[in-house]
Structures are given as structure tokens and as C-alpha cells.
């Protein structure tokens, strides 16, 4: 017997933050500091913000220290532009790179435990694609806390919000955005423990739901990274941008694909094939093992395809080696000991004496909900949605374009989180309280949930999930081309249909894991078809998006892809121009910010 679905009660607040990870809570902290009386509700899918996916980021946060006599924000801007394969927005690049160090100091002043130099200052390490003087040699630009920089950041922003009394609601999802005319006025939320739907009416709403690579068989992402925020925005008729750009991290630990940070290569680890040849020297003669991630992931797959990879029987998977044996004792014991423990624990390999098995793993979405450089969500290239903001991995402003450099994500979520918080404070000045619950509130949510609860048929959740993850890995992964993409789209349509016929073994709303997972699965399928359709439409190769049938970058595609989809697979495309303001300003070395050739 399925209960009648209804809104149990309505909460009111000034700001609703959907997703209490690094970006969402940096935004909330900014609002608290500027306007402490603001009433904020922050939702998280997990039990505490401390358990957000941000906490798993390992290597570092890029920022140019003004005390560094060799490095300059201009070099960082160039690296980001080049790393993106000329597809990120230069207004955002400038803003983020110029304010990075301020944010490092903010974190330090709020209690983050950065690793230190012998002079007791914040220590830095090199990272892929970050170089001095327009690509000359490696820069030391990644500030870090051992190999748990994400945890340091997450703890710090969580602490700050705790201090100001932000109201956290855990084990909770947002299922539907609410609108008063064009203005966003909150969301419908659903809490796992008691299984009740509530409406939250807010003057401003921030989407910061993070990434979504759980549709890939091998992924670094946590169990709940299922594209919920993107699906919610799409259902509201809003666009998503550049979803075809999925970052595969080169060094996932064989098996489930647990992240083995680029920090390992930053500290000197070397990738080797089955002949133990350091093969990156052939693909990127200057940057070698610290070339950008897209390039290294493709190199690894090429090695494997050409017969120079290895095979792990336990995990039934191909891989290459990551060699850490030559690193000094001090590095093993202090700087990377936590990641090394993953190799020992999950694959039984001792990195001090043995080679470590690694293969690319789906890691990050460069695209997301399009915003301007202030964090306002865009309806199209020229118009924003009043009252709705987005930041972090869920959003695309876009700092990363079609490929992100390592350590630029933590930088982005903190700087853009702050910028978004600031923009919300501005918005709140004239924003009125939403009057009442819109009459159609809950329609989308109850439509979905009653379909899941009443589903009849003999489809199996695990089978649909696994087919989805295998299809995306095989057909919409690192190398793409037209035929496999078309096949994937057909398959996704079929999976969508099958997902509607998975009978629910438990129809209670209380702590119903099945119901929660079916909702997530549908979000994953929704987002997957957009990745596939975007990949099919972008007939070129740029950054992390590589088409074997169109292997070079084409000026014809110098734009961001916008996609709208309110009904499954009824897609309409839009475009957003790439911001070239650094190039157009004709400042120092502006020619480097043109559509340049990308070699490492």
C-alpha cells in the first residue's frame, strides 16, 4: 500500500544551500561573516557536512603566493587557459587566479592545518600543468595539507558555519526547485530517516550539489555523487553546460578506482608500462608525468591498447604501473603515507618496494549548471534566474572549460564559493520573503516518487545500474566516436524505460534505501544522456573530450555547449560564447590568451 504523498510542512529561511560541501559552505561562511543574522539552511545527503565528497580531495589547492619571487598569477592564468584547451572563461580565470592566495590565508586563519616549510610557512608542491613563465618549468603552486587537503578545507568551512549556527539538515535531498514567476524561492526536500517531504521557502537558493561521475564503472566519486542538482535544474527548464567534458583521473587504484593523487607524481612518482618504460616521456617531453590529466589518461589507454599494459586477474582489469619505489623515506612516511596506505589496504601492494597498479578513473565534471562570474545561474547566455545561484563542481562559470588542472578544483570551489556568497548578500538587500507556497509545488517530486513506488515489472535495479555504468565506461569514456555514442544513446533510452519497471521491495517512505537509490539512478540516466548527446554534437577533440573520428580541435566549436531537457531525450541545444577578456584587453603577453596550440 503506497502512502499518499504530500508536503508535510513548510520551513522558511533567508538562504537555502543545497549541498553542504566545500563550495556550498564557503558561500554560507561568507554570508555569515558579512551578515551574521542571515538565516541559513544547508542540506547534505550525508550525515554531516564533514562527510562530503570534498573531504576526499587529496593533493592540494593552487594559489600563487605573492612572496614567491618566481611565480605570478599571470602564469597561473595562462596554465589554466592552456590546460582547458582554450575553452574556459577568461573573466573567471582572472578573478580566481588573482584571489587564490587570499583564500589560502582565509583558510589558514580559520584553522586549516596546512603542511609547513622549514620557515614555518605554508608548504607548496608541483602539480600537473602548473608551470612557470608560460610553460618553461614546473611551478611550486599547490598548497596542501599532507594528502588530505580536501578534508582540511571541508573541516574549515564546516567549522566556520558551525560557529555561526548554520542550520544543517543531513540525510536530505532536494527534489524540485520552487518558483514565483521567474524567481527561485526555494525547493522541495526529502529527508531519509523519517521519509517526509518538506517545502523550504527561501529568499535565495544556492545549488552546490557537487559532481556526478557515478554513472561510470570506475570512478573516484562517492556513492551519492549522482547528478541530483543537475537533474533538478533540468526539470525546472534550466540548462546545463559542457557536460560532455568528463575528467578521467589517470591514476585510479585498480578495481573500484579509488583516487591515487597527482601529488604522488608531484613528489616524483613515475608511470611505467609492462616493460617498465617511463612512457610519458614519449607523449609529453617537457611536462612528462606532470602533463595535464586528459593527456596522461589518453596516453595510458594508448599504451594498454597497443599491448604495453598489464592485466590484473582479481579485478579483471587492465592497468599500468605507478612507480614510487625511488622516493625518499621522508616522502613515503610523511608526505604521502595516507595514499600509500590505500595501496596496501585495497590491493595488498607495498609502494616502498613494489610497483602499484593504476588505471584511469572517472573523477570530475568540468561542466555543470551555467553561471556568470558572480555565481548567478543563467537561463541562457544572456539572462540569469533571480534568486538562484550555483557554485563548486555542480556549477560551470567556467574556470575549467573542457579540462581542469589538478588543484584548480579546490581553488575554484573556495574562491567561487566566496564570490557566490557575496553575490547572495547583495541579492538579499532587496529580496522580499516569498509569499506562499506555489500551487504546483511538489508536482514534479510526487510524480517521480509515486512512479517509483508503484512501479511494476521484473526489472532489477542492480542490472540497470551496472549496464549503465558499463555502457558509459565503454562508449562515452576517454575515447569517443560517432557509432559507439549513438549506441550508447539507444541503450540509455532503453535503460530509462527499464528503470521505470523496477518493483520496489519496500514501499515505506521511512529510511527506504531502495527508493533513494532509484531516484539517484534516474538522475544518473538523465545526466548520462546529456553527456552522450553533448559528446555526439561536439565534432572535435578538446581537453577531456576526445573524438577519434574528429581528433583535432576546431575553431567552429569555440563555444560552451548548453543543453535543455525537460522531457527525457527531448533535447535542445544552445551556445554560450567563451569569454576572451584577457586576450581582448591587450595587456601583458595577451597573445598567449588567444586560441593557442596546446603542447606539453
Amino acid at each position: 500500500m503506497v502512502e499518499k504523498l504530500a508536503i508535510d510542512s513548510t520551513l522558511r529561511c533567508d538562504v537555502l544551500v543545497i549541498g553542504a560541501g566545500g563550495a556550498g559552505l564557503r558561500a554560507a561562511a561568507q554570508i555569515c561573516e558579512e551578515k551574521p543574522e542571515t538565516k541559513i539552511i544547508a542540506l547534505t545527503k550525508v550525515t554531516s557536512p564533514q562527510k562530503s565528497h570534498t573531504t576526499t580531495a587529496q593533493g592540494g589547492m593552487a594559489a600563487v603566493d605573492p612572496k614567491d619571487s618566481e611565480d605570478r598569477p599571470l602564469f597561473h592564468m595562462f596554465d589554466t587557459w592552456k590546460g582547458s584547451d582554450c575553452s574556459s572563461d577568461q573573466n573567471v580565470i582572472k578573478k580566481v587566479c588573482e584571489t587564490g592566495w587570499e583564500e589560502v590565508v582565509w583558510l589558514e586563519r580559520h584553522g586549516m592545518h596546512f603542511s609547513r616549510t622549514e620557515e614555518s610557512r605554508i608548504a607548496k608542491r608541483p602539480f600537473g600543468g602548473h608551470m612557470l613563465n608560460f610553460g618553461e618549468k614546473m611551478a611550486f603552486r599547490a598548497c596542501y595539507e599532507a594528502t588530505r587537503t580536501g578534508k582540511g578545507i571541508m573541516d574549515t568551512v564546516w567549522d566556520e558555519c558551525l560557529k555561526y549556527g548554520v542550520n544543517f539538515i543531513g540525510q536530505c535531498i532536494a527534489t524540485e526547485l520552487l518558483f514565483e514567476d521567474d524567481r527561485c524561492i526555494g525547493a522541495i526536500i526529502f529527508r531519509f530517516p523519517e521519509g517526509k517531504f518538506k517545502a523550504v521557502l527561501a529568499k535565495a537558493t544556492i545549488i552546490a550539489t557537487g559532481g556526478k561521475t557515478r554513472m561510470y564503472k570506475v570512478s573516484t566519486n562517492c556513492r551519492g555523487n549522482t547528478g541530483d542538482g543537475l537533474a533538478m535544474a533540468l526539470n525546472a527548464g534550466l540548462p546545463v553546460m559542457d557536460l560532455e567534458a568528463v575528467q578521467f583521473h589517470p591514476t585510479g587504484i585498480i578495481g573500484p578506482g579509488i583516487l591515487a593523487s597527482e601529488a604522488l607524481r608531484g613528489e616524483g612518482a613515475i608511470l611505467r608500462n609492462k616493460d617498465e618504460e617511463p612512457f610519458m616521456e614519449r607523449y609529453a617531453p617537457t611536462a612528462k608525468d606532470l602533463a595535464p590529466r586528459d593527456l596522461i589518461s589518453r596516453s595510458i589507454i594508448t599504451e594498454i591498447r597497443e599491448g604495453r599494459g598489464l592485466f590484473n586477474e582479481d579485478h579483471n582489469a587492465k592497468h599500468v604501473w605507478l612507480d614510487l619505489r625511488h622516493l625518499p623515506k621522508e616522502v613515503h612516511e610523511k608526505k604521502i603515507q595516507e595514499i600509500e596506505s590505500f595501496f596496501r589496504r585495497f590491493v595488498g601492494v607495498d609502494p616502498v618496494t613494489e610497483l602499484c597498479p593504476v588505471a584511469p578513473t572517472a573523477h570530475y565534471q568540468m561542466g555543470g549548471i551555467p553561471t556568470n562570474e558572480y555565481g548567478d545561474v543563467q537561463r541562457d547566455a544572456d539572462n540569469i534566474v533571480p534568486g538562484l545561484f550555483a557554485c563548486g563542481e555542480a556549477a560551470a562559470a567556467s574556470l575549467h572549460g573542457l579540462n581542469r588542472l589538478g588543484t584548480n578544483s579546490l581553488l575554484e570551489l573556495i574562491t567561487m564559493g566566496k564570490v557566490t556568497g557575496r553575490q547572495v548578500v547583495e541579492y538579499l538587500k532587496d529580496a522580499k520573503d516569498p509569499e506562499e507556497l506555489p500551487p504546483n509545488a511538489g508536482n514534479i517530486t510526487f510524480g517521480q516518487f509515486s512512479t517509483y513506488l508503484k512501479a511494476q515489472g521484473n526489472e532489477n535495479y542492480a542490472d540497470v545500474r551496472d549496464t549503465l555504468r558499463q555502457t558509459m565506461m565503454d562508449n562515452v569514456g576517454i575515447f569517443r566516436s560517432e557509432k559507439p555514442l549513438l549506441e550508447a544513446i539507444d541503450k540509455l533510452k532503453e535503460l530509462r524505460e527499464r528503470a521505470m519497471h523496477i518493483p520496489m521491495s519496500l514501499t515505506s517512505l521511512q529510511a527506504n534505501q531502495d527508493l533513494w537509490q532509484i531516484w539517484e539512478l534516474n538522475n544518473l540516466i538523465t545526466v548520462s544522456i546529456i553527456i552522450a548527446q553533448g559528446a555526439l554534437a561536439r565534432k572535435e577533440s578538446r581537453g577531456a573530450h576526445f573524438r577519434e573520428d574528429y581528433p583535432v580541435r576546431s575553431n567552429e566549436f569555440n563555444y560552451h555547449t548548453l543543453v535543455y531537457m525537460q522531457e527525457f531525450n527531448k533535447i535542445s541545444f544552445g551556445k554560450r560564447p567563451i569569454d576572451m577578456s584577457l586576450f581582448k584587453a591587450k595587456g601583458e603577453r595577451y597573445e598567449m590568451f588567444d586560441y593557442i596550440e596546446r603542447k606539453y
Binding site: 554531516s48 587570499e102 590565508v105 585495497f346
Partner: protein
């Protein structure tokens, strides 16, 4: 390829709709390299989709998947089948939810409630020390940082609080206490008096009976009892 294991999991079930609880037994064939989270997923996929359990990152970074296996609180994501067989010298495992918070369903407990303990310990810098120059970082020597950095690895999985003989009664618990001690040791914190009040109050560190169970079970291998001892001694 390593040989598959045939293991039996005897799991505490609880249904909040009927308020019934029972023990259910599942026999699973699983590869030795599978983690316990993979085994639980396998049970969901092949035998019983209603069995509820929690996890998030699944590589010991978030502390969402704590359970009790044969009496020991641990993270289900980092216990491999072959290691479990070796460590517990059995193929039968008794799985129970953590005892530190109310059970929501089966193996899922309401960690939000447990977190209230950590909130009470004020894990943030209450009053940060000024820096000589605005915009500069506070200088902390490697040696100083070394004295407390281990404790900052805590992910609040509440395995220690579950194992602790005192934290089910009046003690705020080892992890929450350690969060306070970290800030007492942090040279940037100036609100030392307020922190000492928290440390030595009724639910504070003197409730600890020094069983050292916390250090024994910590999945992050933090010597929690060392930090609690520093707290008792007042040596920050």
C-alpha cells in the same frame, strides 16, 4: 586469481515501520579482495534489496560506514574479505550497527545525533590569534605541527566512541574530546580557558577510564588515548 570465499553474515535487522528487530543470516560467495561494502551491495543485488547499510566515499575518508563486526567497530569499506577471514579466524561474521546513536534501519544509525557531541566540543578556532601583518599566514613550525597533526586526521566515524566503555554514559566521547584537544594544542587558538572548561566539565576528559579501546579500534590509526592523556595532564 585469488579463490572465492564462502562467508556467512549474521546481520541485525530493524524495521522502523513495524519496530521489529531480528537477526538475519546471508551466505555469500565473495572474492577475497572484495570489501565488506561490496559484500553488502552483493547481498542487496542478489538476495535482499531491503537490507539497509550506509556508506559514502568507500575508501576510509569519510567515516560513514562504521559497523560492528564480531564485536569490533570498524569501517566496512576497508575490511577485505580475505583479511576478515584471517583477522577473525572464521567465515561467519556477526554484523551489528554502531551503538553510539539510534538505529534508523538495519545497519544505519543516525550519525547526525552522534555529531551533536562533536558540535559541543567546538571543533573550530574560537578566537584566532592575530598575525603580525594582515594578509600573512600564521607561522607554525613543523615541529609544533608534528605534535598534533595526527589527531587532525579524525573523520568522526564514531568507532572509538562505540568501543569506549565510558561514552555510552556521561562522557562526550574520545573523538569529540580529541577535537577540543587539537585546538588546545593549536598555537592559533587563544580561547584556551573556554576550551579547558569544556575539557574538564562534567562530560569531559576525566570520564575517560583509559581503557585505550579508542586507539585500538581507530581506522585512521590515531593514538586517540595519547591525546586524551595529554588532555588529562594539561600538557598542550
Amino acid at each position: 586469481m585469488s579463490k572465492p570465499y564462502k562467508i556467512t553474515l549474521e546481520i541485525n535487522r530493524y524495521d522502523p515501520d513495524t519496530e521489529l528487530s531480528w537477526i538475519q543470516s546471508y551466505t555469500v560467495e565473495a572474492g577475497g579482495i572484495l570489501r565488506f561494502v561490496d559484500v553488502l551491495r552483493k547481498i542487496n543485488d542478489e538476495q535482499d534489496s531491503t537490507l539497509a547499510w550506509a556508506s559514502s566515499c568507500e575508501h576510509a575518508q569519510c567515516g560513514s560506514c562504521g559497523i560492528i563486526v564480531n564485536g569490533k567497530p570498524l569501517l566496512a569499506c576497508e575490511l577485505l574479505v580475505k583479511d576478515a577471514v584471517e583477522q577473525f579466524k572464521t567465515h561467519t561474521f556477526r554484523l551489528r550497527p554502531l551503538t553510539i546513536a539510534p538505529v534508523l534501519r538495519d545497519l544505519i544509525v543516525d550519525l547526525e545525533k552522534a555529531y551533536e557531541r562533536v558540535h559541543k566540543a567546538k571543533p573550530y578556532l574560537i578566537k584566532p590569534a592575530p598575525v603580525p601583518q594582515e594578509g600573512d599566514e600564521y607561522r607554525i613550525s613543523q615541529e609544533k605541527l608534528e605534535t598534533y597533526i595526527e589527531a587532525t586526521q579524525c573523520i568522526n566515524c564514531f568507532c572509538c566512541a562505540t568501543a569506549c566503555i565510558s561514552s555510552h554514559h556521561h562522557f562526550i566521547g574520545p573523538n569529540a574530546t580529541m577535537a577540543n584537544i587539537v585546538r588546545l594544542m593549536d598555537p592559533r587558538e587563544t580561547a584556551k580557558e573556554e576550551r579547558m572548561e569544556i575539557l574538564y566539565r562534567e562530560d569531559g576528559v576525566y570520564r575517560c577510564h583509559t581503557s585505550r579501546a579508542c586507539s585500538f579500534v581507530c581506522p585512521k590509526e590515531i593514538d586517540v588515548s595519547h591525546f586524551l592523556a595529554l588532555g588529562k595532564e594539561g600538557r598542550f
